[in-house]
Symmetry: C2
Subunit: 142 residues, 2 copies
């Protein structure tokens, strides 16, 4: 649970000016026990709840992408219709709950290391990620 001055330093370190909007975004994104997943809409709601003044949508987009470029955030592709972001920027796999549209992180131990036997000439592997789609296990589907 870092204090704001830590965010100011953190932002400075990567060459971002610690403006009040960015500090507030840091608080909302990183001032929590666990990493989490969000859409831009989620984030805008969280920000408007926790902030007296309002923050413009353009700033949220710009800052999220600035954070992404700096490696503070990772974009996750699950649904072509929505962008999900992740404050857990390490390489990891996901469960996606198709009922609730929630993302859940996998632990290291949940899935064995993936061994890729094919290689594409002239190309290097940037990432290997598994997406496990789950849904409710009702017998209702005949």
């Amino acid at each position: 649970m870092p204090k704001n001055c830590n965010f100011i330093e953190k932002l400075r370190e990567v060459g971002l000016r610690p403006t009040k909007q960015r500090i507030k975004m840091c608080e909302v994104l990183y001032n929590r026990e666990k990493t989490f997943h969000f859409t831009i809409n989620d984030l805008v709601k969280l920000l408007s709840e926790k902030m007296n003044e309002k923050i413009s949508l353009a700033t949220v987009y710009n800052t999220v992408h600035a954070f992404e470029k700096k490696g503070y955030l990772k974009e996750i592709s699950i649904d072509s219709h929505k962008s999900y972001f992740d404050t857990n920027t390490s390489a990891h796999h996901h469960f996606f709950d198709e009922d609730t549209h929630e993302l859940i992180d996998c632990d290291e131990s949940d899935i064995d290391k993936i061994n890729i036997r094919k290689n594409i000439t002239g190309k290097k592997i940037n990432s290997v990620e598994v997406l496990v789609r789950v849904a409710s296990d009702n017998q209702t589907q005949k």
Copy 2:
């Protein structure tokens, strides 16, 4: 390389009226040696090339989604900013070339079966898919 009458039958079997637009879409999508990946834009281009009359964008969207629902097409999530579709509807993994934005199918033999050790209570696994992002292997990146 099926002829059109096969497409007419195929469409009938799943309760879709074999209209000339749908038949043309079947030709473009399925009258080829290998399965392939496409975006809506790709498909619209292909259709306008191979068709004398024009087909409306709404029809392309509607028909793609009708095919998807019937299991003739699968939607692939790689990029939150664009929808990719796949005429290979079986469960399989992908390489994604981040330079060319091309999808490449993995063979069964390219990646071992993924073993999931975690299970989410009350949820069943619908799919397990691996996405391997690749990019050019230039030493240009210091």
